[in-house]
Amino acid sequence: MFEQFAAGARDAVTSALNEATLRGDRRIGTQHLLLGVLHEPGSVRALGIDLKTARAALDALDRSALAAIGIDIQGIERPPIPASRKRTPFTSGARAVVPRALAETRKAGSRRITPEHLLLALLDCAQPDPAAELMAQLGIDRAAVRERIRTGA
């Protein structure tokens, strides 16, 4: 599945796997892919937010959802979860990002999927997709991000 990925995009996927594990998720979702590409400075520039902010936003979404069902997790010890030998598959939404990233790669006339192509594919996620929810929570202006990527700014 990853033979068409350039090194940077592979690293993003590895980072996405680590992010999923750290959070205690069983599958790699689009929100983890978004965190994964944020390990790379170009994506941080394009999105205008950093990894720490994005992680905190995911946490805030969780805290509010739990608060909505009457659970307050303030003060509960929540250590990062150690890497395990269990396989962590992609969610169907995350799998669907790959062909879209490949389409971006072709559109750009490149041969390999870069983190930028992954990011462009993630920008097309629509709510209730988890990456779309995260971008909404972060107040990301997708058109502006696309423009920054297009102009290389």
Binding site: R63, S64, L66, R78, P80, P82
Partner: protein, 67 residues
């Protein structure tokens, strides 16, 4: 998005909120488990004892938490 908004959405049967809460509970369980397992190992519990307490096999404790 504020917690108040979310309670509102939950009352209005927005499935996104309920489903996210379930995901958050899974994550919370994993995090509480990691902390509890680490503490049990520090205090000399065997993997078998930990597995019995969690209702899983000794092997799955090993696969998940290693040493």
């Amino acid at each position: 998005m504020e917690a108040g908004d979310l309670s509102e959405r939950l009352r209005s049967h927005d499935p996104a909120v309920g489903l996210r809460a379930v995901g958050a509970l899974h994550r919370l369980a994993e995090q509480v488990e990691a902390a509890a397992v680490a503490r049990a190992r520090e205090q000399g519990w065997s993997r078998e004892q930990i597995g019995d307490a969690l209702g899983v096999s000794r092997q799955s404790v090993h696969a998940k938490y290693g040493k």
